[in-house]
Structures are given as structure tokens and as C-alpha cells.
């Protein structure tokens, strides 16, 4: 490459220099085959950034007090100087919206363009989870629709009624996703068009389910129920409802909660759809940040090599990059868990290293990728994995050694903690396994499903919690059950099951005799 003149120097930026840097980065990104949505880069003030923060990164959102709470805490932390605002915020949409703060220095703006507009953006477009679960072209319209609809409901039914409903839905929003079924894409237009029909349709469906006159039982079902002596009239011969456990609690409520009004079902649906939109982000933190960090690092270095940024800017960049990817040790006062930027960046850089300069160890551990084309391999990893599987597949002994990872078992039946594995030959696989589980959503969140709705009896709803390794539910359980009870309208029960035994039962409202427990 011939060295060119730097596009700009110093720390002041203007739109012209930003555009020229953006073009230079776009050119390099093409070289690296980073496929992105068009970029919509918005320059905003720090106050606007706080607003953007408070709405959890949604460019428009419905109104809810919890966003106000978020705003106040961000504001408080920022004013006190405990926290710098993030330099950027990027939204998975088409075009991809990235926010740049006006206070940023020139270096920071260039870095953010590389990180967000080419790193995150290409990840949003390429990763299979995002492709499956989100529809980038529709999200902004859908958000606008949701905001309008919620505002309409507030007008018609009162702010308080809507707020309570949203509270209840938010409590369950992590259980508003079909994990195994592929979802249908969301589209604001279709939503709005279908919404009225659906209101009417949904209600008739629910009415059928809850009609007080039971349908005639199908005659051939008789022999399936052995104890028809206890049920001579065949009232229970339909078996349990739902016949399969339902993992999508919000979906189940939307379709089956007996007392919800049509507009309430619609709001449940809105929260569910938005939860689905954020679902991939919750599962690709390490990958997403790692990918973006890897690319800003690579692109900035290329800009420097090509002479488009000068030494001063490069030094400022390196200082900032180093603090982004720093990983405090577990015993450091700054330790706050594993830094996804550090882990992700280390892993992607290591994949590049394995491809370009494999050692014997790499050849043994990664025979498929050692010595392969690094760019192909990196794209393959980005496209086809989520944190859990990415770690399982690509966490190399070298990264484990570099980060000095160790795994620790905390068992409440044991009065001491035990080191299970460290960064040595015997430990690599176990650490990889444990870290992968640590990022698995299924292990991070309790596994709770709808077990039975007693539609012929007291109309109570029973949930089942499949307890794993004796980890009980936290204290927030009862408030959540209370919210669930609001949505369902009848008593709500929850059973914790481990290895087929019911280990604990909860119920809301709490019966007079007090809480049962086994």
C-alpha cells in the first residue's frame, strides 16, 4: 500500500472528515467481505444519548415508568461521574441506526463507525439467530405501531390499567419466546391490518375454550382413559390442557387467558414480539461485541497502515481499545464478571492466529481450521453460532491460558468451594464446557413452562419449574406469580420438579393455611 496523507488530525471532527473516514472504512470493509445493512449514522447530544439509553436502545418506544427509572439511574450515574456514557449505540434495523455522541473526539467517532456501523451491523445481518428471530426492516415500523397502539389503549382504558398490564407482561418477557419453533417475522403493516380481525377472532377462540357447555367427547377416545370409573361422564377424557407443556408463557396467556380483553391480548402480544426481537442479543453478547471489537481493531490498524490516520490518533485509539478489552482478575476490586469485549475479542483474534500461524497444539485441537483461510473461518464462526456454541467450538487452550480461567464449584451441601479445573491439560475441556454452560440461556434462566390449565375445574394455572442441580427459584418468584395471576385471573400454582420429584410447590394467592412446601 502506498502511504497516503491522513484525512484529518487532532481531535476535532466535522461532517466532511467523518464522511471521508466512513468511505475509507467502507472500502476496507468490502475488502474483508463485511456485508452490512445501509448505515444511518446519527449525531446526538449526551442528553439524547441518555434518552436513547433509557429506552433500552429502541429508537421509539411506548411509555412506561420502568424506562423513566432507567433514565433516572443513568442520569444520576452520569451526573455523578460514576459512569461515562457509552460512546455509541447501535440498533439492529435496516437501515442500521448508529448513534454518535457529539462530545466524542475524532478518534472516537472513527472508532465507533468501525465498531458499530461495520462490526455490529455485519453481525446483525449475518448471524443466524438474528436472521431467524428478527426482521431488521420491520422493527422500526413495528415499534411505531406498538407505541401508537399502547397510547391508544391508554386513552381508552386509562394509563393505570395499561401500566399494570405492562408491568405484568414485563415480568414474564423472558418467557415470551418460542425457543424451538421458528417464529414468523414481525411486520408493522400486517400487524396493523390484521390487528382488528385478530381482536375479534382471538376472543371467539378463547370463548370456545372456556365455553361452559363442554363439547361432546370424541367416542374413540374412550379406551385411552383407563380410569373412566372415576369419571363416568367422561368430563376429563380430553386429558390435560395444554396437552404439551408450553414454554412460551406470554403466548399461552395471549391465546388462553380467560378474562383478558382483546386489547389486553394485543399488548401481551406486543411485549412478546419485542422480547423476541431482543432474544438473539441476549444470546450473542460475547460474539457480537467480540466481532465488533475485532473489526474496529483490524480496520483502525489498516487505516493507520494506509496512512489515513496519524500516530497521535492511533495512540489515542490504542489507549481506548486497551481499556475496552481489559479483563480484571476475579479478585480485583474492578471485577464485574467476564468482560464480553475481552473474551470475544480474544477468541476472534485467536481464530485468526490459529488460521495464520497454527502451533502443534492448534492442529490437534482444531484440525479443521488450523491453517485455513482466516477470513472464511471468521465469517463461518460469525454466521453459525451463538455464545454457548461458539465457546464450545472455538475456545482454545491458548485463550484459557491467557485469561487464566478457572472453574469453581459452589455446592450448598459442601461447606467449602472447590476448584474444579484450571488452565492446564486436564482442565481445558472442562473449563470450556463450564463456560459454555455459563452462557447458555437455558442455564441462566430457570426452566419454567406451562403445565396445566384446569379448564374444567377451578381454572387454576399450573406451571412447572424443572429444577437443575438443586438451584431453587429466587425471591422475586412471588411478585412474578402475582403478575401472572393478574393476567390469568385465577389461582396460579408452580411446582419445582427435580428428577421427577416435586421438591417444592408455590401458589398465588397464598392460601389461608400459608405456603405449602415439601
Amino acid at each position: 500500500m502506498t502511504r497516503r496523507k491522513p484525512i484529518a488530525t487532532g481531535s476535532d471532527w466535522n461532517f466532511e472528515t467523518l464522511e471521508r473516514y466512513e468511505q475509507a472504512i467502507a472500502e476496507l470493509a468490502r475488502e474483508y467481505r463485511l456485508d452490512t445493512y445501509p448505515n444511518q449514522i446519527e449525531i446526538i447530544t449526551s442528553e439524547q444519548m441518555m434518552d436513547a439509553y433509557a429506552s433500552v436502545g429502541m429508537p421509539v418506544g411506548y411509555h412506561h415508568w420502568s424506562f423513566g427509572k432507567q433514565f433516572l439511574s443513568v442520569e444520576q450515574a452520569y451526573r455523578r461521574g460514576q459512569m461515562g456514557l457509552a460512546y455509541e449505540l447501535v440498533i439492529n434495523s435496516d437501515p442500521c441506526i448508529a448513534y454518535l455522541m457529539e462530545e466524542n473526539s475524532l478518534m472516537m467517532q472513527v472508532l465507533v463507525i468501525a465498531h458499530a456501523c461495520y462490526g455490529h451491523n455485519s453481525f446483525f445481518k449475518g448471524n443466524y439467530l438474528f436472521q431467524t428471530w428478527t426482521d431488521a426492516s420491520a422493527i422500526v415500523d413495528y415499534l411505531v405501531f406498538a407505541r401508537k397502539y399502547v397510547a391508544q389503549c391508554e386513552e381508552r382504558h386509562g394509563v393505570e390499567a395499561v401500566e399494570q398490564l405492562l408491568d405484568a407482561c414485563h415480568a414474564l418477557q423472558n418467557y415470551g419466546v418460542d425457543r424451538y419453533k421458528r417464529p414468523s417475522p414481525i411486520s408493522a403493516e400486517a400487524e396493523a391490518r390484521r390487528q382488528e380481525e385478530r381482536e375479534a377472532y382471538l376472543q371467539t377462540q378463547v370463548n370456545t375454550l372456556w365455553s361452559t357447555i363442554p363439547e361432546r367427547a370424541a367416542p374413540f377416545a374412550d379406551h385411552l382413559l383407563p380410569d373412566s370409573e372415576n369419571d363416568p361422564l367422561g368430563l376429563h377424557r380430553h386429558g390435560r390442557y395444554p396437552s404439551e407443556p408450553q414454554e412460551n408463557l406470554l403466548y399461552f396467556l395471549e391465546k388462553n387467558a380467560p378474562l383478558l380483553e382483546p386489547w389486553q391480548r394485543e399488548i401481551v402480544r406486543i411485549v412478546r414480539k419485542l422480547a423476541q426481537y431482543f432474544y438473539p442479543q441476549r444470546q450473542t453478547q460475547v460474539m457480537n461485541e467480540g466481532w465488533a471489537t475485532f473489526w474496529h481493531y483490524t480496520l483502525m490498524n489498516r487505516l493507520y497502515d494506509d496512512g489515513l490516520i496519524d500516530e497521535g490518533l492511533m495512540l489515542e485509539f490504542l489507549q481506548s481499545h486497551t481499556s475496552v478489552v481489559s479483563q480484571p482478575d476475579y479478585d480485583s476490586p474492578y471485577f464485574g464478571g467476564i468482560n464480553p469485549y475481552a473474551l470475544g475479542f480474544a477468541m476472534f483474534s485467536d481464530i485468526q492466529r490459529i488460521c495464520q500461524a497454527p502451533t502443534d497444539e492448534d492442529r490437534e485441537w482444531f484440525p479443521d481450521i488450523a491453517g485455513s483461510d482466516w477470513l472464511d473461518t471468521l465469517h463461518f464462526a460469525m454466521h453459525n453460532f451463538k455464545d454457548e456454541s461458539f465457546i464450545q467450538q472455538f475456545l482454545s487452550p491458548k485463550v484459557i491460558r491467557d485469561l487464566k480461567l478457572f472453574s469453581l464449584v459452589d455446592d450448598d451441601r459442601d461447606d467449602s468451594l472447590q476448584i474444579e479445573a484450571i488452565h492446564d491439560d486436564r482442565g481445558y475441556r472442562r473449563i470450556r464446557e463450564a463456560l459454555s454452560v455459563q452462557y447458555a440461556l437455558s442455564a441462566r434462566e430457570p426452566n419454567i413452562q406451562v403445565w396445566e390449565a384446569d379448564i374444567r375445574g377451578d381454572r387454576s394455572l399450573t406451571l412447572r419449574h424443572v429444577q437443575d442441580r438443586r438451584r431453587p427459584l429466587g425471591q422475586s418468584l412471588f411478585p412474578v406469580l402475582r403478575h401472572l395471576h393478574q393476567l390469568w385471573g385465577f389461582p396460579v400454582k408452580l411446582e419445582s420438579i427435580e428428577n421427577g420429584d416435586t421438591v417444592r410447590r408455590y401458589q398465588w394467592p397464598i392460601p389461608e393455611t400459608g405456603r405449602e412446601s415439601a
Partner: protein
Amino acid sequence: MSYFIDRRPNARNKSAVNRQRFLKRYRAHIKRAVEESVNRRSITDMERGEKVSIPSRDISEPSFQHGPGGRRTIVSPGNKQFAEGDRLRRPSGGAGGGGSGEGQASNQGEGVDEFVFTLSREEFLDFVFDGLALPHLERKQLRVLEETRPVRAGISREGVPARINIVRSMREAQARRIGMRAPLKRALREAQEALAAEERQDPVLRNPARIDELKSEIERLEKRIASIPFLDTYDLRYNHLTRQPMPSNQAVMFCVMDVSGSMTQAHKDIGKRFFLLLYLFLERNYEKVELVFVRHHTVAKEVDEEEFFYSRETGGTIVSSALTLVDRIIEARYSPEQWNLYVAQASDGDNWDDDSSTCLKLLDESLMAKLQYFTYVEITPHAHQALWDAYATIKTAYPERFAMEQIVQAEDIYPVFRELFRQRAES
């Protein structure tokens, strides 16, 4: 394809609605915090925001989570001395559970951490006057007292020595010196050159008469240059001052309160809001507002704010003692020509029987002529007594400048100020 959009000119308060929703939802908590701070703060210190904290558990958004217990494996970075199979004592105070890099783990903790945020000044005042039903505060154009004040008005050639503007004077002097010397210096140089040319000539050809002439010329010029004065009276410049009419921008507010045994702390708290409201109003109108606290039972006494609101006394009530004291203080310290005078009085209506007529006389003959406004609140659910009747007479005599109201709860305070706040809209 990329494009830049400058969003900076857009509205910046996108979160305002959500913020208000939050404040509304936690109204009770915030109100309690505000109430505490009103009682803690001085009247003069109300116009700033307040830090409010709410226990986190009251505002948490619940979701299904794992609780402590069971068996879990945690991977952490930065191993130093551990080897496989090592056993460690469990650290007390909860191990840093589920460190999956989410940073959320601490939310499950059972610590009583507080959610802290800051109310803005407006929000704070809204909460202070919550229930007072304040309309938009339109304020009366107050009576303007004519007074003059010297203001700078440029530079003049005449003045007293005390107002000499040194920089300007020196600049004039230098300009004059340069101007007066220039032709003399030029002539001097020419004479010197001529003299030098003459002296360079062969001695035979020299003209001694010419040399003498030039020498005396040089001497004359040098003398003239030396005689130019460094500073001439002509150079002097003075700062010019003119007298400009100035409205008086200072007010004094007398807080008068009955502290006899019948006034409870609840009465005083209502009273505090009443005084506060008047203070806020004055504070926006005047550059400087002084407060005088006068409390009384059978005798009146000037006290500081702390003592005014929070010390208790018992005994009977003689209102005129306070009015007399106010009158005396005005006489001594606050001339009505220079100060806008306001009196706010709070009482439960008790008064010594034959004292009310004394009050009437005192107000009518002496005080009302000096005051801008007199406000009186009677904090009692009971029937009026003689004092009310006496004041009612004053009110008929000075409807523009006298307001009185009976108050049972804090909501009732505002009507007292209605006159004060309404007049601007009319004018």
C-alpha cells in the same frame, strides 16, 4: 451506502414522559422524602432539587431468577495460585454468584441498596406544593419605588480627581507627546545632518557663521523637545457617572407566628408552607429578600428561623405585641422608602380579648401605610374569634393590600395569595 444525520437540533426530552410516569408511580415515596427535606431545609433554601432515594426492592421489576443454593459452577479469569482440587472457605457475605458477564447478578442480592435519583427544582417545588393547587404563577407588577443609582456613562474631560481614568489619560498624553515632538525631531535631525556636513568640509571652506547658527538651532530644538510636558491637564480623562432612576429591588418579609401552647407542630408545618410560598413569590420579584422572624405569645421576640419553627412556648396570646415589634423593626432598620415591606402572619385565631381592637388601631394607623401587602392565615377548624373580625375590618379598608383566609389543611393556603398572583393578568 451510508448517510449522516445531525439529530442534535431535535428535542432532547424524549424520556420526559417516562420520567413523569416514574415520579407519579412512586409519588408516596417521593412525597415523604420531599416532606422530610422541607422540614429540614430553611425557607430560603427551597429552590433547588433534592436527592431522593427509594429502597430498591420497592421498585424492582421482578422476573423468574435462580436463588442462592444448589450446585453451580462458575468460571472466572485471573487464576493465580489455585490448582485443581483445591478447596477454599466460602467467603462470607455471598459469593459473587452467577458471574456470567451480565453484571446483573448484583440485582438479586438482598442488600438494602437504594435507588437514588435527583428531582429537578421544578419537580421538587411541585411536590412541595402538591395539593396546593397552584395555578400558573402570574405575578403582580409590584409598586416601584423610585430611587437613583450612579451608573457609568463613558469618559469625560471634566471631573474630580478621584475619578481619573489613568489608562485613558496616559494614552492621551502619549499621543500628544508623539504628535508635538515629531516636527521638532525632524527639524533637529535636519540641523544635525547639516552641521555634520558642514564639519566634514575642508577647514578652509567651512562657514563658521553657518556652524554657529546650526549649533544654536540644535540647542533651541533640544530645549523645546525637553520642555514638552509628560502629562498635561489637557490629557486628563475622567470616568463619567450619571444618576439613573432605579426601582427598589429589595424586600423584607416579616414572618409573624403565634407560638402559644395551642399551636401544634402540625399548625407550624402548615405555617411554614405559607411563609415559604410568600418567600418564593418575593424571591422572584426582588433581587434581595430579607427575612425577619417574629414570634409571639404574650410578648413578641425576634428570633432566627430554627427557633421560629421548632421551639415551643406556652401561655396566652397578645397579637398586638408582635405588630408593635414589627412596627419598631421597620422604624429602626427598614425604611419604607427603600424597602418593599411584606408581613405574613399565621395564628390559630386566639387573642387576648381586648387586644384585637388594639391590633386594628395599630394596623390602620401605622402599619398598613407602610406595607405592600399583609397576609394572614388562621389555622383552625373552629369558629372565628375577635381577631378575625378586627382583621375583616382592615380587609374592607384595604382590599388591595390585605388578604386573610382560614386554613384547615395545606390546600387552603393558596387563596390567600390569589390577589397577589392574579393582578398581572389584569394589568
